[in-house]
Amino acid sequence: MKTILQNFYNTFLIDIEKCSTPEQVRDIEVKYLGKKSEIHSMLKNIGSIENVKEKKDVGKAINSTKNDIQRIINERKELVERKSIERRILENHIDWSMPVFSSSEGSLHPITIVRREIESIFTGMGFTIVDGPEMETEYYNFEALNIPEFHPARDMQDTFHLVNSMIMRTHTSNCQARSMEYMKPPLRIISPGKCFRYEAVDASHETAFYQIEGLLIDEKITIANLIAVMKLFLSEIFKSDIKVRLRPGYFPFVEPGFELDINCLICGGIGCKTCKNSGWLELLPCGMVHPNVLRYGKIDPEKYNGFAFGLGLTRLVMMKFGIPDIRLLNSGDIRFLKQFK
């Protein structure tokens, strides 16, 4: 009996060693421990042993062998399963360097990108964004800004005139009087948009371009306030402390009026083609709102004053992205557009 059991066990050990898949292990399990297995019939036959001690010993030996087999099968099962997962993982190893095929991507116009950036800086400082029309009356574009008919300043902004006696706005400053009409001070607005000048087109001049007008009106606003707000804005937009200088500039709707220049970002201030060798770039005309403009907007200039600025958005976009030719912005050329996400 013992020999039979021993042989049975030995053949089992040989068989189990050959198992390399969970299926094979399952077959072995059925073969050696199943209802039709030898060991099963051995157990069944145990009753025919008469000697009690022998019966007990044989029973013990069979059960112990059975347990051993079960244990080895379990171990094997686990091993084989683990091996098979390992194999599966190894077999399914991907080449992470294979290319991917993405569909074409869209793009935002660079003007939109920088415009949003500026809007978020100013709304963060409590400014409201307002809109204005591109086709404008002479009243809002000139008169209400203290530029009467035949004022030489109208020359500075060569104007597109239309047969319906309107004009294309020459600046976003048309929003000054428009917003003063429905908002009462203290007020803080910016007005981004397109403006138009009748002038020759070249790499840095266009007949249509973007500006962002700003206006702040409150009590006791100072030139020092204007400089501080402009500096704060510029250091946000250029992500660094940049050098600025303020010099006199003449615009009939401000008094005093300034031109704000920034240190040329192309050459760092030593002088290059872009800054006409001056080291400075003209970026931001600004000034203290002229009392007549406040009067046009029905605001008492004895009580309130403020400042206004007109940021050249198109120029800023060209500077930020290093766009060499302004005409690219209106080219509709996807090779240009797709670079701006």
Partner: protein
């Protein structure tokens, strides 16, 4: 405006200051400077010389021996080459306008150096002959030792002088420099006019003193027309003039120096001056020999009944100074700025004189101008003398402006604590008169700042702050009451749409000019309907504002098709009509040509629009039969409707336009008024969803193909049942297993209750009821 620093030095000492510093400080405190021209960087080694010998070597050229610092052999081709002539000579190795003059062989003869015309020497524009030195200069002197040749010229941007009539002369800049550098300002010499009081008046009549504020006439006899002294020519040439003769040069000299335009007439043509407007359109020949059509009401200077000059703009040909002139009538006047400006616009010309008059010149300066001219002429033509009293008709409407303010206001407005005496000395250096009463100030502006520039207390703030230096002001952020900025829904909506089109639908945003390209419109057979026309279009091809963005987007598409096969572009832009401006969203999609491409694009666009509408929580957008849009295919188009109003359209490009393209493509266009999107409202209430399981029930229904889908859908979806949560159409199928002439439309009902789990009976009941609904409306299940 060109500023000669040598000339400036007549009035304020600048010879010890680096021109670059003047250049920078003028920009920072007065007006924008554009560049510095250093004469010595362009010219060198020019000296006075006498021709000792001149031998003709061919019909044009002379071989000369010239005495300069030593003797030179030079070839000259100038017609006035002759022995004894004193002229200018550049030594070999010297520079003329940055070009090095080397020894040169000419017809077998060596020429060392070169004899110079006025143009070659950089003194005037005459290159017809050698420059003749008439003032007895010694031979061999460097030119810079006998005149202001070695000068630095600062160029000022005229646009930055628009509001400063006082800066249209060098003396105005001298005053600024004196204030900036705290240096004394010297006066200029004028003639004492008292001697002329006894002479007779000259007849002058001003018909409209609102257009001519002052007219001063001076009659001068015994004038000798000649070349101006060397230094006057040099100064004029350096400041942008072309020297001609002493009289014309002196009018320019005085104008450049003190900003007062003068006009000299040949006195022989003048009997009585009348200043009056034209009563009718008149043809008049100006001294540039151009016949001009002058509009009615143009202010003219008349000799009795004959117009002789356009007031403040240009003289006439007849009364021009000529070599034969021996007596001169000098006009020094002030004309209404707006009138002069209007006339220059109507005539289409601008002159040095008109650009000054249109800035509101100070009439006080007119007398100064006349007296300065006489003073300078006497020095050149000592024998010249006045035949009449200096006749002055003065209707000066301007008074010196008086401004009442106080130190506290000035400091408060600037935001910097500047001391009172600094404020006072700045203003006084600019010739303001100050009266103090503790904090209060009574400030009288000088006459030359009172015509336009200075009238309110903010103007005083500007004067103080610019000379004080804007850079010396400490920036301080304003204290402001906290307030939430108003929301701008339009801006927010634009941004949402742009983000979706860019990031969800892979489109490229474009930006375009708002006018049509007529040439392209003709090419695509597009005819704008009632567009607004420009009075002054930028070109003959851009005469109208756009009423649709379609042509521009198509143009972009055509251009990009040269490189790409398929792409989508969009832009939010403005459209214009007579009384209205609309903002629209314009989308163009372009794909490789396929058989069903148009249709595929149509439904893609429809889906994009529905996506946008759903993102913005808009009410259902509807579509309707097309109103037929130019260059779109009427069979593959639709109107886009919201609240029963057509707010847009979309359609495939008309087949006839495809012939314009080299490449085969499907092009689809959509244009929607942004007002449609601005109607959006945010959904702000939460509705509890059902926590009980829901069942999806699909029904495929046969629809006759010719039946309009929306009619069919309306009928089917009119089915009413309390358990319906949502209805969705999930597929449209035709083909195998479907009778031809029919389509199978699959409806998916989401069925459920908020109160319980549905039973099998509920579902059977639902199915039965729906099927009987279908029977009622005459449809069958597939």
């Amino acid at each position: 405006m060109k500023i000669s620093l040598k000339w400036l030095d007549d009035f304020v000492k600048v010879s010890d200051i680096d021109p670059k510093e003047i250049f920078n400080l003028l920009t920072m405190k007065t007006a924008e400077t554009e560049g510095i021209y250093e004469k010595k960087d362009y010219y060198s080694d020019i000296i006075t010389a006498r021709i000792l010998k001149a031998i003709k070597i061919d019909n044009k050229h002379y071989k000369c021996v010239v005495k300069a610092d030593k003797e030179y052999n030079v070839i000259s081709g100038a017609p006035n080459t002759k022995e004894g002539l004193i002229t200018l000579f550049v030594k070999p190795g010297g520079y003329l306008n940055k070009t090095k003059i080397a020894e040169k062989s000419f017809a077998g003869e060596v020429s060392s150096g070169m004899l110079l015309s006025g143009k070659e020497a950089g003194i005037n524009n005459d290159f017809s002959k050698l420059f003749e030195l008439t003032e007895n200069f010694e031979v061999g002197l460097d030119i810079s030792s006998i005149c202001d040749y070695d000068d630095s010229i600062i160029e000022i941007d005229n646009k930055s002088l628009t509001h400063r009539p006082d800066l249209w002369g060098i003396y105005g800049f001298a005053r600024e420099i004196a204030a900036i550098f705290k240096r004394p300002l010297k006066n200029y010499d004028i003639i004492d006019s008292s001697f002329s009081e006894s002479l007779p008046e000259f007849p002058i009549e001003i018909k409209d003193s609102k257009l001519c504020y002052r007219y001063i006439g001076v009659c001068i006899k015994n004038v000798k027309i000649m070349q101006s002294p060397l230094n006057i020519q040099v100064r004029l040439f350096h400041t942008g003039h072309s020297p001609k003769n002493n009289i014309i040069d002196l009018t320019n000299y005085v104008m450049t120096e003190i900003g007062q335009p003068l006009h000299a007439f040949d006195k022989n043509y003048i009997e009585k001056i009348v200043v009056d407007t034209l009563k009718e359109e008149t043809i008049f020949t100006t001294l540039d020999k151009i016949k001009r059509n002058l509009p009615k009401n143009t202010l003219m200077i008349w000799n009795n009944e004959k117009p002789i000059a356009v007031a403040g703009i240009m003289g006439g040909e007849d009364s021009e100074i000529s070599d034969a002139t021996d007596s001169v009538f000098l006009e020094s006047a002030t004309f209404d700025a707006n009138h002069v400006r209007k006339s220059t616009v109507l005539m289409g010309i601008r002159t040095e004189s008109s650009s000054r008059f249109e800035k509101f010149l100070d009439p006080v300066n007119a007398m100064t101008g006349a007296l300065r001219f006489i003073y300078l002429l006497k020095k050149i033509n000592p024998e010249s003398h006045l035949t009449h009293k200096i006749t002055d008709l003065n209707f000066n409407p301007f008074i010196k402006n008086v401004i009442h303010t106080n130190y506290s206001f000035i400091k408060g407005f600037i935001g910097e604590n500047i001391d009172n005496c600094t404020i006072k000395s700045i203003l006084e250096s600019l010739e303001f008169e100050i009266k103090e009463d503790s904090d209060n100030l009574t400030i009288t502006a000088p006459s030359f700042r009172s015509t336009k520039d200075i009238s309110i207390k903010e103007d005083i703030v500007e004067e103080v702050s610019r000379i004080y230096g804007f850079d010396n002001i400490t920036p301080i952020l304003p204290f402001q009451k906290m307030a939430v900025p108003l929301k701008n829904k339009i801006n927010e909506t634009d941004n949402i749409i742009k983000d979706m089109l860019t990031y969800s639908f892979s489109m490229n945003e474009t930006d375009s000019h708002p006018w049509y390209d007529n040439k392209f419109n003709r090419k695509i057979l597009y005819k704008p309907l009632n567009p607004v026309e420009f009075i002054n279009p930028i070109s003959n091809d851009n005469t109208y504002l756009r009423t649709s963005m379609l042509p521009k987007m198509l143009q972009f598409a055509f251009e990009n098709l040269k490189i790409f096969d398929s792409f989508s572009l969009y832009e939010i832009g403005h459209l214009f009509s007579k009384g209205k401006e609309d903002k629209v969203l314009s989308i163009i999609i372009v794909d490789k040509k396929t058989k069903k491409g148009d249709e595929e694009q149509f439904f893609r666009m429809k889906s994009i629009i529905q996506n946008l509408a759903s993102r913005l929580n808009l009410n259902e957008i509807e579509f309707s039969d097309t109103l037929k849009h130019q260059i779109l295919n009427p069979s593959i188009s639709t109107e886009i409707i919201s609240d029963k109003e057509s707010l847009g359209y979309m359609g495939a490009l008309h087949p006839q336009i495809y012939s314009q393209l080299d490449k085969k493509a499907n092009i689809f266009y959509c244009e929607i008024n942004m007002n449609l999107f601005y109607k959006s409202v945010r959904n702000e209430t939460f509705k509890m969803f059902s926590i009980y399981p829901q069942t999806l029930l699909d029904f495929s229904i046969l629809k006759p193909k010719e039946e309009f889908y929306s009619d069919f859908y309306a009928k089917v979806s009119s089915f009413n049942h309390p358990l319906i949560k949502t209805i969705k159409v999930t597929s449209v199928y035709e083909g195998e297993n479907i009778n031809s002439g029919y389509q199978s439309i699959t409806f998916r009902f989401n069925v459920g209750s908020n109160k319980r789990t549905l039973s099998a009976e509920d579902l059977t009941d639902f199915q039965d009821k729906f099927i009987s609904h279908l029977e009622k409306i005459n449809y069958k299940l597939r």
